[in-house]
Each structure stands twice: as C-alpha cells, then as structure tokens.
Symmetry: C2
Subunit: 335 residues, 2 copies
Amino acid sequence: MNAATPAPSFDVVGIGNAIVDVMAPIEDDALVALGMARGGMTLIDTGQARQLYEAMGPAREISGGSAANTLAGLASLGAKCAFIGQVADDQLGEVFAHDIRATGIQFDVTARAGDPPTARCLIFVSPDGQRTMNTYLGASQFLPAEALDPALIADAKILYLEGYLWDPEEPRAAMKQAITAARGAGREVAFTLSDAFVIARHGDDFRALIDAGQIQVLFANEHELAALTGCEDFDTGLAALAPKVATLVVTRSERGAVAVSGGKHAYVQAEPVDQVVDTTGAGDMFAAGFLHARVGGRSLADCLKAGAICAAEIISHYGARPEADLKALLAEKLG
Amino acid sequence: MNAATPAPSFDVVGIGNAIVDVMAPIEDDALVALGMARGGMTLIDTGQARQLYEAMGPAREISGGSAANTLAGLASLGAKCAFIGQVADDQLGEVFAHDIRATGIQFDVTARAGDPPTARCLIFVSPDGQRTMNTYLGASQFLPAEALDPALIADAKILYLEGYLWDPEEPRAAMKQAITAARGAGREVAFTLSDAFVIARHGDDFRALIDAGQIQVLFANEHELAALTGCEDFDTGLAALAPKVATLVVTRSERGAVAVSGGKHAYVQAEPVDQVVDTTGAGDMFAAGFLHARVGGRSLADCLKAGAICAAEIISHYGARPEADLKALLAEKLG
C-alpha cells in the first residue's frame, strides 16, 4: 500500500456458505418430538436431511447463507459487494446464484459438477418466530482455495467471513488464505462467530486469529461471547474480549446490542416490530446495517442503530433476505 | 353404480400442472419494459424462461399449479384429496412432491427422468398485488394417460380439472379419459376455465364438453365467461352458459362472485382484506372453499361465502398455497 494505491472497487467481499433455505412453520411440541434443539443450528447428513424434510410441512424456498444474507442486506443498502461461496450445478444452485446476482452482488464462483447437491438449510419456524436450523452443507463445503481471487479480496474495504464455514476443511483453508490476502493489502477483516457450537468446535482457531490481531470487526451474540471467552457473565466476557479487536459488536436479541471500539462503548435498544414472524437472518442483517454505516463513516452508535433497523426488517417476515427497501428504511429512521 | 357401491374414499381427485412458482415483486413500468401483459398467463420456452429469470429480482420458490393449489386448499380444509400431475426427477420436482404430500394429499405419479425439468412459473407481482405469470411447462406437459388410475378417479366424489392443462397434447388426452372414467362411475366433474387465452385456443373443446353434459361444476372469471360465450355483457353471458352446467360459478375479483345452480342465483361480496399482497391463486382458493362447502352439503350461498373467505386468505400473502389454517378460518367466519 502506498499513496498511489487506488481506492478499493468493492465495499465488502464476503465468503460464506451458499445455501438455499427451506422454511416451514412448526409447533414447539413437534420440534421437541423431532429431537431438535430450539433456536440452534445442527449440521445434518443426506439421510437426516431426507428424514427431516419428510417430517416438514409445506415449505417455501428462499436463498440464505449467513454471509450471503449480510451481503444481500449491504447490496440493498447500496454497498458494492462480491460473494464467494460454492454451489453445485443444479436447480437450487441456480436459485442461489440468481438471487444473489439479482441483488447486484458479483458472484463468479463456478458451480461444482456432480454430487453433492447445493447446500440447503431446513428451517423450522416456531409460532414466536424462533428459527431452528438444520444444515445440509452439500457442495458448500467444497469451496476450494482456488475459488479465491486475492486481487478481488485486496480490492474490497472489508473482508467478511462467517464462522459457520469454519467446519469444512477446504473453505477453512480458503478463508485463512483470504485473511492473509486482505491483511496484506491493508484491508479490514470482519468476522461473525455464527454459533456457540461452532465455537465449541473451532474456538481455539478463532481465539488464535483474534489474538494475532487478524480480526478488526467481530460480531457475536451473547451465547457466542460466553462460548468464546468462557465467561458466563456478559460484562466480564465483553471486557475480556473487547481489547483484542478494533471493534466488537454483541447482539442480544430483544435486549438490543452493544459495541466497543477503541475503549468506547455504545448501546442500542432493539427496534420495535409489530410481530416477530421469523428470526432467521436477524444477526446477518444486523451485521449488514452495522457494516454499511461503518463504511459510510458513521458513529459507533449510528452503526448499531443501523444494525437494529435492518434486523427489525428481517424478523418481520419469513426469510433472511430483505423484502423492504433497506436504503429507504435507513434514510427514514437513521437519517 | 348400485346400492352396494361403497362411498368414495376421496372427496376430490385433481389433475393439473405440477409447477413450482418463482415469485418476485416488480414495478409496473418494468413489467411493461419486459413486454409482459399485466395479469395474464403466457407460456414460455426454455430461452424465454432463462431471459425472464435473468431480468427478475431476488425471488422465492413456492409450490403452485392451479388445480394443485385448489387441492392444497381443500386438504387444509380437511378434505381427502389425490393429485395427478407430472414432475421431473429433479430438485424442483422434489419440492413440488414434498409440498403436496406434506398437505396430506395423495400424490403417486412417478417423476419423469431426463429433460425437460419440472415446470416453473415466473410470477411478477405488482405493487397492487396483481400477478403476471410466465409458465415454462417442462415435464408437466408430458403427463401420460397411463398416469391416471381409473379406479382412483372412480373413488372420488369430484374430479377437478384445470383448463391450463388443455394446452399440451398428452395431458389433454389423459383428462378426456379421466372425464369418461369419472362420469362412468357416476361422479361429478368440476372444471376451471383458467384463462381467457386458453379458451381462445381450446374454446371449441370446452364448449363441446359442456354441451355434452360432461361438466357439472364450472368455474370461470368474468373474462373467461366472455371468452367462452362470446358475450361481452356479463349477465347475457351468465344467462347463456348457466343452463348448460349443473352449477356455474363466476368470480369477479373485488366485485365478489355469483353462482347459478338449477336456475337459482346466489351472490357473495368479496371478503375484505387489510392489504392485497399477491393475487396469485385467488381463483384456485375460491374453488377450494366452494368445493369443500359443496361436498359438505352447504347451500349455494355458503359455498360462495366459503370461496370468498379462502380467496381473501390467499391474496393477503405471497404465494398460492394457504398459510393460515383455512379450517379454523371457515369455522370462525362461516360457522
């Protein structure tokens, strides 16, 4: 990097699972009968996917994937984004690719031929809007390091990564390379911890990255904060983690969210919604609002507020991709 | 048929296109720019499907198909139904089969191997809720006559057919056989005219069936009534057609619906809705409510009211499959 380096072409380049969500309502007693952990994310294999799908009511299909959802939100807000993730060469892969490109996001990864098929997430939505996810990773876990274009990563202000993708080996290696490429170009790395059980499996990796100063913006919910820090007490966990990243953002569902950056704290209340229909994508959309405001040079409090506004939009309807014009929504509510 | 004939096992067996709807909002000026006829149904080929899909915004996939939607409504109301339609052996075919079986409908037609893929309908939804449909028939047009089980058709009180399926040759032949099987077993045939342009193509066939007394319950909207009878004036058309079928039902969107049966007329106002979100499936769900009440031996006025209640549910959200518990809704509003 020197003074002659041109400004990056992209605001955010994201790497994540390329998933189509298959969503249906469920009563909580049926959820228990099916042996699912309410509110969690469980990885499932082909047999489990078939079995659960058979037990599922009439469903709808909407593109998903955590980082992909965040990018869809960012694109809806006007940010220039590129997505890296692996679909198979099948109908659900076409659906995913169509939906992400239709939001204006660059998506150039070649669909993978043959088995396994494109990833899907069977999402059961409880009457109170809580979502319980069962993810069949399929092709998504075979994202090869070669799918990464280091020039593209160097050409974005922020590299955004999802913890979910740390499970499969190839994408994990690819993300580590991506972090090196981004940091080498002087870019920021934003990371979402995704899920407490992912941290149970890969916490050492995550802590090592954080300790090495590789993560500039870290997103977590309170369960993930506790899992990563080992501190049951929220404030203790926050105080332990905050000094290790430039910006720490912790979402607390209906209790709002906090951020710590350079020793400064900010807090936002949850944005009121008429009815919580489906919480799928709440954290993803919070990250979208936060990052968009951050790229726009807004204050820490404004970044949180933007996150809360976007999260409120997504939980007011089925599916993790925005339906409202988020740009207009932010202009109206944040100014 | 004699006194020893057992009561039919099914309330309704339906034959129709096996389609997955791909739905996205659109502004009306964009609709015009894409050369689409607002509110219509156009058959498209592979190339047009690709082109239109590329022009479409981020979408969601929800099972559709006119008769299949009606059966899904009937099943939600507690009716015992079977569906006959052709999917391909692909992911969208799995989606369609899952969704229809998950509503409790018997669906036994073997998925068709190889090309073409499962049918899809690209549906553009205008801000006022009007839907404009572009149907790629794919595998659906290859429903073979052998897919029909005459014993199944004889075992249902009502055979329900959609006019849309009259376009492709094989299903048309299959439906004609089905009518013969149903009438031979003393069952009623219910038919929905589907679309004015379908009538332009196949009106002679439809009129011949009606004149031969093969249709007991005929569903039309006012445009279809005009197309079939050649009468621009609504009352003239109604008077011309009504004597030829046991029961004629004509829906008029926000102006309600009329039915004529055995010389008696009944009328229902449109059921009020907070917001018309998406009119896709309004006619299909009207037919579901009407047929369910009819099978239950309700009055003609009650049949219309049941139709209006079900249609109001479907236009208050995206997609042509019911989201609310229609049974509870009817119990509350019709008693």
